[in-house]
């Protein structure tokens, strides 16, 4: 009887605990980002070195009307009526976009990348249809926003934003039109104001440039992007921050710059990055160098490798010859002791993967359905710049440095992967706890991307350099813990990424910003 009551009381306690620990809150908390007055408005940014523009004067902005003119006064009256009383929805839009134009459009780009990062399904004939940019919403959707694709989309987005903002700064300080709230103190201003001249509007510049790039990268998302663009522009009126001519001039400038940046995109070799016909020669070449077992797709049916000629796309921060120099030495031979040791490490992790190893592998997995490792690092860069209260132009500079380094890392890593065509651990019976990407093993893309980004971030935020490097190290190790890379893939990838990142660092040191 004693025994029985013990059991009952134990069970009752457990039942009570189960019920008591249940709270009814189902809402999801996302980190909040709000507007700020930048630590510096970077008034000399017009002289910073641009990527595609040769000078800010490559694009034109007409002189604004005087704030004393009747046209301006009419705009001001319209602004006052638009900003005097806001609906809840309008207030939310003001707060959302107030966190930063560059910040939000990068976040939007990551969202699109994540939504489009799913490999095509095989069809009834056992083939994988290639996504069609002229029919982007068919199955499979265009694009398949895999890591190389996403790295490139983010790089062009950031370059367009940065070049456009540098040009905007030029005209802002040329024309020096003050913000409407400073012309007329009765304008209800909803966001922190700085001393930055307001013509052309930096928000409209970023919105237009981003819109053009993202529309090209995600052609199925035009309605979504239209809505974002309209809301962003309107939010500046609702917030009392820009009159309509500030916005119109900004949109015009953003469009001009984006057109030039997309001109580079059209001729950077991406159109030839999926040349499956080139793989036979690649395989032959690596076999002649002594590799017995080459990489084979581990999917059923066998999927053509991801973008085998992405390694030939034009880089941002160094030239073709440097790219070849950056390519690491050959991986260990398949019968070497180093290979055997690193394969054995994976086998032993597979047997006894710890929860902490699984956590690191999952946190950094950034696999299908995610915004990919370039997206992950781009987010970290945007958050760091937002934490540091960077101006729009400095935020854009930071992201351009990081995102061009990420694209360079992707190009170099893909060049390496297809040059060595090295087999995955799964070809030796290893499973994975994160999912296996469909391209050769050596070197690790995560390691290359992460080291490149961490190197750039460490240069922009020296006080946080160790933290970023530790994260790169984790991201690199995550591929060992997730069982899809040998340790030598990761160690070498990390070193390559560091070398690649150093070119973006050098550019940043020499771009006239003094940062």
């Amino acid at each position: 009887m004693k025994k029985y009551s013990k059991i009952v009381s134990l069970c009752s306690v457990m039942a009570a605990v189960a019920v008591a620990t249940v709270s009814c809150d189902k809402s999801i908390t996302e980190p909040l980002r709000v507007g700020y007055t930048p630590a510096s408005v970077d008034e000399k940014a017009a002289s910073w070195k641009t990527y595609v523009l040769t000078a800010p004067t490559d694009v034109t902005v007409a002189a604004p009307t005087l704030t004393t003119s009747s046209e301006y006064q009419a705009e001001l009256a319209d602004l006052k009526s638009q900003s005097s009383s806001l609906t809840t929805e309008q207030q939310q839009a003001v707060v959302y976009w107030g966190a930063g134009a560059v910040y939000r459009w990068n976040e939007i780009a990551r969202e699109l990348a994540a939504r489009y990062n799913i490999p095509p399904a095989s069809n009834a004939e056992g083939k994988y249809p290639v996504p069609d940019m002229n029919n982007p919403l068919a199955d499979p959707k265009f694009p398949f926003a895999n890591p190389p694709y996403t790295a490139r989309a983010l790089a062009y987005l950031s370059v367009a934003q940065y070049d456009a903002l540098v040009a905007a700064w030029n005209y802002k300080y040329k024309y020096k039109r003050v913000a409407p709230g400073k012309v007329d103190a009765s304008v209800k201003v909803a966001l922190p104001a700085s001393a930055l001249p307001s013509y052309p509007s930096e928000d409209a510049v970023v919105a237009a440039a981003s819109y053009v790039v993202l529309k090209a990268m995600f052609p199925g998302e035009v309605p979504f992007l239209d809505a974002k663009l309209a809301e962003h522009q309107n939010s500046r009126l609702w917030a009392g921050m820009n009159v309509k001519s500030d916005l119109a001039a900004g949109a015009d400038l953003g469009n001009q710059v984006a057109a030039k940046v997309m001109g580079r995109a059209r001729s950077d070799g991406m159109g030839m990055a999926n040349n499956q016909g080139a793989t036979a020669a690649m395989i032959e070449s690596v076999k002649s160098r002594g590799l017995s077992d080459v990489w084979l797709s581990q999917e059923s049916p066998k999927r053509p490798p991801m973008l085998p000629t992405y390694g030939s796309v034009i880089t941002w921060n160094f030239d073709e010859a440097t790219k070849i120099k950056l390519r690491p030495a050959a991986p260990p031979a398949l019968n070497s002791t180093e290979f055997t040791k690193d394969l054995e490490e994976l086998r032993s992790i597979q047997k006894d993967q710890t929860r902490e190893q699984a956590r690191i592998a999952n946190y950094w997995a950034d696999g299908a359905g995610s915004y990919t490792p370039p997206g992950h690092w781009s987010r970290m860069a945007a958050n760091a710049a937002n934490d540091a209260k960077y101006s729009e132009v400095r935020m854009a500079r930071t992201l351009a440095l990081v995102n061009t380094a990420l694209m360079d890392a992707g190009i170099c890593c893909w060049d390496t992967k297809y040059y060595y065509y090295y087999p995955r651990p799964q070809q030796f019976g290893v499973k994975t706890s994160v999912g296996l990407p469909n391209f050769p093993s050596y070197t690790s893309g995560h390691s290359t991307f992460s080291a490149a980004a961490a190197t750039v971030l460490g240069s922009v935020f020296p006080e946080r350099a160790d933290e970023f490097w530790a994260q790169a190290q984790d991201a690199s190790n995550s591929r060992i813990y997730g069982l899809i890379h040998y340790r030598f893939d990761c160690v070498v990838g990390l070193q390559c990424g560091k070398n690649i990142g150093s070119y973006a660092v050098a550019r940043g040191k020499a771009d006239g910003s003094g940062l």
Partner: protein, 298 residues
């Protein structure tokens, strides 16, 4: 009348673990002071699943097999109130592709079952339950994950009629399952066609309902059943993507349950088959159990 009712209880806890786990779904009670301990083994397999409304095969998964062993005590607190517990150990395996199987202790569940009305052969019952993850397993490596890690609270109303002479019975119930948000290892994910920049994931609340027709005798029982479960919210698996805990997992299944327990020791078995679904595998599942009844009361 003491024996049959008492002895039967343990066996009736049996359910497919794959879908909604081991919830009490019968009108049978242990007498005060009796404990029935069931030790069970369950196995569920599928080689086709529904990606949203699209039924498909996946050559990179092949056949997914989920197995479990669990201990399930049922305790008679009084003639009208029983306490039921379960704790399963689960492991998964895919026959093709290279996804690593997952294994571990899943969720500790507890229910209180109360007979609220008894009039002749008719009875009404209220069942309240809850569950907590009992280990730190990974919930978003689907379909390999062993569970979703949500804390749950369950309310179920069950009505039953049993013909006194023949033992033929008809039972029906409906259930509301509240599920907590969960934390995942990643700090961003896509659900409902948007990006969430957080590690917190909302897992849909669910309902389930069932109708069962069977015969209950002193030493044996046989039953056929139909079940329906689904999410009250939730999204679909995206085209060619993996499942995610936010998915609305719906299933309609049918099956058979039987039990033989001549004395203190008995055996039971259950077979279930998913006829139709959404964001779930079309699984065939079976469970077998060994039952042992202990009477603490003299």
């Amino acid at each position: 009348m003491k024996t049959p009712l008492k002895i039967l209880t343990g066996g009736l806890l049996l359910m497919s673990l794959s879908a909604k786990a081991q919830m009490p779904n019968d009108a049978i009670y242990m007498a005060k002071g009796s404990v029935c301990i069931a030790g069970m083994y369950g196995r569920s397999t599928w080689n086709e699943y529904w990606e949203g409304p699209l039924k498909r095969h996946n050559e990179n998964i092949g056949t997914l097999t989920t197995q479990n062993v669990m201990v399930m005590p049922a305790i008679g607190i009084s003639r009208r109130v029983n306490l039921l517990l379960s704790l399963p150990y689960v492991w998964t395996e895919a026959s093709a592709g290279n996804l690593m199987g997952q294994k571990g202790i899943q969720d500790l569940s507890a229910w209180v079952k109360i007979k609220t009305v008894q009039a002749g052969g008719f009875s009404l019952h209220t069942i309240l339950g809850g569950s907590l993850p009992a280990s730190n397993y990974v919930p978003d490596f689907l379909p390999m994950s062993i569970g979703l890690r949500a804390r749950t609270a369950t309310g179920r109303l069950l009505a039953s009629y049993k013909h006194p002479k023949t033992g033929i019975y008809l039972t029906a119930y409906g259930t509301y399952n509240w599920r907590s948000t969960i934390k995942v290892d990643r700090d961003a994910y896509v659900a409902n066609n948007r990006l969430y920049n957080t590690n917190e994931v909302s897992v849909p609340n669910t309902y389930d309902a069932s109708v069962k027709l069977g015969i209950l005798r002193r030493k044996w029982q046989t039953e056929i059943f139909a079940e329906r479960m689904g999410g009250l919210t939730g999204d679909d698996i995206r085209r060619n993507d993996m499942p995610f805990p936010t998915n609305n997992m719906e299933a309609t299944s049918v099956g058979w349950y039987g039990k033989v327990q001549p004395r203190h020791i008995g055996v039971n078995a259950r077979i279930g088959y998913v006829l139709d679904g959404r964001n779930v595998g079309q699984s065939t599942s079976y469970t077998v159990g060994l039952l042992y009844q202990i009477d603490f009361k003299k």
